[in-house]
Amino acid sequence: MSIELRHVSKRFGGVEAVSDVSFSMKDGELVALLGPSGCGKTTALRMIAGLEMPTAGDIYIRGQRVNDLSVQKRNVGFVFQAYALFKNMSVFHNIAFGLKVKKWKRGAIEERVSELVMLLDLCGLEKRFPHQLSGGQRQRVALARALAPNPTVLLLDEPFAAVDAKIRQELREWLVHLQYDLKLTALFVTHDQEEAMEIADRIVIFSHGRVEQIGTPREVYESPATEFVARFIGVMNVLDVEVRGGVGRAGELEFPAHGHGEGERFRIGFRPYAVSISSDPSALRYRAVVRHTYFLGVMMRVELELPSGQTIRARVTKEDYARLGLADDREVSFQLREYRLLASEGGLLEPEVAVAREMPPMLGEGI
């Protein structure tokens, strides 16, 4: 285990920023701490670095408990959101700083810095000062500076938030390649679910200071453990269902009662890809009108409006969209292929109902 947090909590004044968080990561893993603003993910990262002290719980780096170890001695590399470059120092001296502190020999420092300069494509910029660099270059210098002393683990706090979209994509690829080539253990904080899905081996999802779910990108997308995760990762239609006449109803949509009594309510969710659409208005179970179409590249998202005014979101490929002759205001029919039961108050789902369900044949009439 490279890093392990055991029941870690942090209070600021009366506010619990992180409560009872436990997770661990293996050597060579790239893990994302993902969550909305102010959910405690940055605080967790800063506690690992030693920039904040936990109120309770223990932090281990390579099996050693580091709670009482000062930030200077933890040997972590930290990349700050706003770069935090030393503006009075050139690129060379920024990268060399940690090595000088660790009393490396001058020759070794020069060798190591030029190695990193090559690695991060900063050749020719060694003598420049931070204000003479572009945003992407600055962040690469920050990365090189953090990597120079061979840290046990690389910690990145929203590392790509301050640069524009194109550079962000480039930097993500840098990070993935570096992590692979150098067999780095890296933990990064982000509020961008796409970024986490794209580059992380595993994702730790935070909400209100707690861990909601830990898993691979695929796991958290396909089997969200909580309604929060379901809504935060990707798009999810969430419906309030009430049992009437032995059938769960949400507007026109009908579901099995799942053991709920008459008048009881429960929640279900389904992803846009789980909606089948037919261009024949009476071919499938529910009738609807296409309200809006969103172009997403390969995929198209359509908003379907049922006669009651209820809307759901569905996803079709560009080819299917054309084949079905879909267009705004077009009448169509649709049905659901699968859905999930969500626990009522957004808490944890019962594991056995968290798996996707086939629609029972009795409700899925007519194809």
Binding site: F12, G38, G50, L51, E52, Q81, A82, E158, A161
Partner: protein, 314 residues
């Protein structure tokens, strides 16, 4: 500019990025001793000396007719100069902050000029312009207009030394706010005046007030420039600071302090108002930052919409 949230982060920051307590408290002790000796002690001394001969003497010094006339003259001069410079500040800030034109940098430098001129030199310049030997002297004498050694000269001297205060305060604030709000008002059909009164003025009101407070403090307390052009005619051209000097030269131990205590009270009032204004604009700013959501580090740009830490002017 530090938001409350930023502060919290400072306070919460871990010990490894702070100084050891021993060093921290040594620095605090040295700084507090210095501030106590250099700031607090002189202030207390004014009031203690003022009443050193008892309250009766204190009231007598203040009720003295010459002191009373000095109070009236001081207030008169401030009453004329502050509104004039306030109007100038608004007019100049509008031209400079809302428009681009060649020579803007030069104009800004000229507005700053009075800060770098010694008050005594200011007085001398007015004497050289309006005095009996001055450039306009003969013409003024011919028309029997008296400026030097009279109230108009003192007003002009005060106008000169307090000239930049309001403008310097408003220009950066107005510049930071840009012209979008005014343009929005105009697309909604508001005319120039209406836009100014309903959009521009309300959004700079605290900065304006701040500038006026500083301007007023300087107008009430100006000594060098006014001294040169006043002629020191007791009961006629003595302001409060000049009265303090005159009493000091009469080797009275308490009377100058009694008059000085009035000015010190005004200085304290200025400080209180200034601090209140800073807190007010500070809080507004902090609120704005909280709304500004996520990246705290990115939001820590200096907020120029507030009148925090205006550097005192020369």
């Amino acid at each position: 500019m530090t938001s409350a949230r930023h502060r919290e982060r400072h306070a919460a920051s871990d010990r490894s990025t702070r100084e050891p307590p021993f060093i921290k408290w040594t620095l605090i002790t040295v700084a507090l001793t210095f501030a106590g000796l250099f700031l607090l002690l002189p202030l207390l001394n004014v009031f203690v000396q003022a009443v050193s001969k008892g309250w009766v003497f204190y009231w007598k010094s203040i009720a003295d007719p010459d002191t009373q006339s000095a109070i009236r003259l001081t207030l008169l001069i401030a009453g004329i100069t502050v509104p004039l410079n306030m109007a100038f500040g608004l007019v100049a800030a509008w031209a400079i902050a809302k428009f681009d034109f060649p020579g803007k940098a030069l104009l800004l430098t000229f507005i700053d000029l009075p800060f770098s001129v010694s008050p005594v030199v200011t007085g001398l310049m007015l004497v050289l312009l309006f005095g009996a030997q001055g450039l306009l002297g003969p013409w003024l004498q011919e028309h029997d207009v008296k400026i030097i050694f009279a109230v108009p000269g003192m007003v002009l001297a005060t106008l000169f030394v307090t000239f930049p205060f309001v403008a310097r305060e408003l220009i950066p604030i107005m510049q930071a706010q840009g012209t979008e709000q005014e343009q929005a008002a105009m697309t909604l059909g508001a005319g120039g005046w209406r836009t100014f009164w309903t959009v521009t003025l309300p959004s700079v009101k605290w900065g304006l007030l701040y500038g006026v407070i500083l301007c007023n403090a300087r107008a009430l307390g100006e000594f060098g420039a006014v001294s040169v052009v006043s002629g020191h005619i007791t009961g006629l051209t003595d302001t409060l600071p000049l009265r303090v000097e005159k009493l000091y030269h009469e080797f009275d131990s308490a009377a100058p302090f009694a008059v000085a205590s009035l000015l010190a009270l005004l200085a304290l009032l200025t400080l209180v108002l200034k601090t209140l204004l800073e807190w007010k604009t500070h809080r507004q700013h902090a609120k704005g930052q909280q709304r500004g959501a996520e990246p705290a580090a990115l939001n820590s740009e200096p907020g120029s919409d507030t009148a925090h830490f205006i550097r005192p002017s020369l």
